[in-house]
Amino acid sequence: MKQGIIENLIAELTKLPGIGRRTAQRLAFFILAMPDEEAKGISRAIDEVKNNARFCRECFNITEDEVCSICSNPSRDRSRICVVEEPSNIFVVERSKSFDGVYHVLLGSLSPIDGMTPDRLKIHELIERVRKNSVQEVILATNPNTKGEMTAQYVRELLKPFFVKVTRIAYGLPIGGDIEFADEATLSKAIQGRRDF
């Protein structure tokens, strides 16, 4: 066997997040030992994603069709839009099983110092969706950091003329944690965001 090809696979695998040299080695030899069909299934799946993945026309989720499976699902509540930064965020909110509305992916967040201006995000498209559809609530689920917060505030201002209810996901402490270990920025946000109990 030529030494180059397995080395090459190891090198390719280390490009994945969280995969160091040792894990890549283990994976490479595992793939080598796999039945043909199974191993080729992995490479086919990668091919398919890379060839067919595109953005949903409505919400900018990743899909292989014109419109993603969430937007085309008639049982989803189309009057509520949850705004996220990245398509991967949708998977996380879906996993929480706490939301039955639809989504809107901005494909990033605002950052003046990095030149991330509003025109580089799908903000205008969100405003158009609110303008054209009878939307009751827009939930801003951008990240709880400065860029996410600036993005949320910016979108809120643009939504003001539409008299739609705008909400922001709560800032809080991670479940299972101990207040003792919370930093002052997180704790002050959690206290500001307290609710009746």
Binding site: P17, G18, P112, I113, D114, G115, T117, P118, D119, I123, H124, I127, N145, T146, E149, M150, Q153, Y154, E157, L158, P174, G177, A182, D183, E184, A185, T186, S188, K189
Partner: protein, 250 residues
């Protein structure tokens, strides 16, 4: 080797899945970039300490010449959380953060620049028009890095004059200028105000009340001067422009 200093977060750039490259302004190392492992995970020990403007005590680990030492600890001294609460105030502060990034080299100790930024952050009051403070910061900062415009007298012969030439970064008298390019006319009051801002303590600058026109004259001149030196507008400046454009569209 483990090193300790304090720093103010200027910028963070996501790296890989959950990591960050954090740029600090520190008194001992000037601009310092460090690699922070997994701060974007909620269980991270860095918590909210890596948000822009946060002042922390930090430790980092790396060889003397390592391009990206690893951040091992950051304990908040001042979170400056209120300064990140409002879009418009953070946008203004982004401009001075960008200025710092544009003019200061990496790993060049600069206690003055650090003190200037820290004092500015302490002086900002919430929901207040900070144009005076921002302009004052810019003038003092440009002076620190040796790029302040010269407004007291002709840059060549020292005579008095009130025509500012962008290409020279200075006032020029009629004799020396000889129509190099079209100058920016400056009022005598603005020249005086500029020299006052250079000398006044930034923490007390909020006590003075210049007229709107005077402040605008100086702040416009500084903006033009910075744009000329960098040969492009600051990204933050074009952000403000695009922002207003976007608002008109929708």
């Amino acid at each position: 080797m483990l090193k300790r200093t304090e720093g103010i977060v200027i910028r963070t750039v996501p790296y890989g899945e959950a990591d960050l490259i954090v740029t600090y302004l520190t008194p001992d190392f000037g601009i310092l970039k460090v690699f922070a492992k997994s701060p974007r995970k909620f269980k991270s020990r860095f918590g909210g300490s890596l948000e822009p403007l946060t002042q922390s005590k930090i430790s980092f680990w790396g060889r003397e010449d390592a391009p990206l030492p690893r951040l091992t600890q950051s304990d908040i001294l001042n979170s400056f959380q209120p300064l990140r609460e409002e879009f418009s105030s953070f946008l203004k502060l982004s401009e001075i953060l960008e200025l710092i990034l544009s003019f200061l080299p990496e790993r060049d100790a600069n206690k003055m620049a650090y003190a200037l930024l820290l004092n500015t952050l302490h002086t900002i009051k919430e929901k207040q028009n900070d144009t005076l403070l921002m302009t004052s910061f810019k003038i003092k900062f440009l002076h620190l890095v040796g790029f302040a415009p010269r407004l007291d007298s002709c840059g060549r012969c020292g005579k008095h004059g009130y025509s500012f030439y962008l290409a020279q970064g200075s006032i020029m008298c009629e004799g020396c200028a000889q129509r190099i390019d079209s100058p920016v006319k400056i009022s005598p009051a603005a020249v005086q105000f500029y020299s006052d801002l250079l000398t006044w303590d930034i923490m007390k600058v909020n006590r003075i009340r210049p007229s709107g026109a005077l402040l605008e004259e100086i702040s416009n001149l500084i903006t033009m001067h910075i744009r000329y030196i960098l040969s492009k507008p600051l990204k933050t400046e074009s952000f403000s422009l695009k922002q207003s454009h976007h608002k008109i569209q929708s």
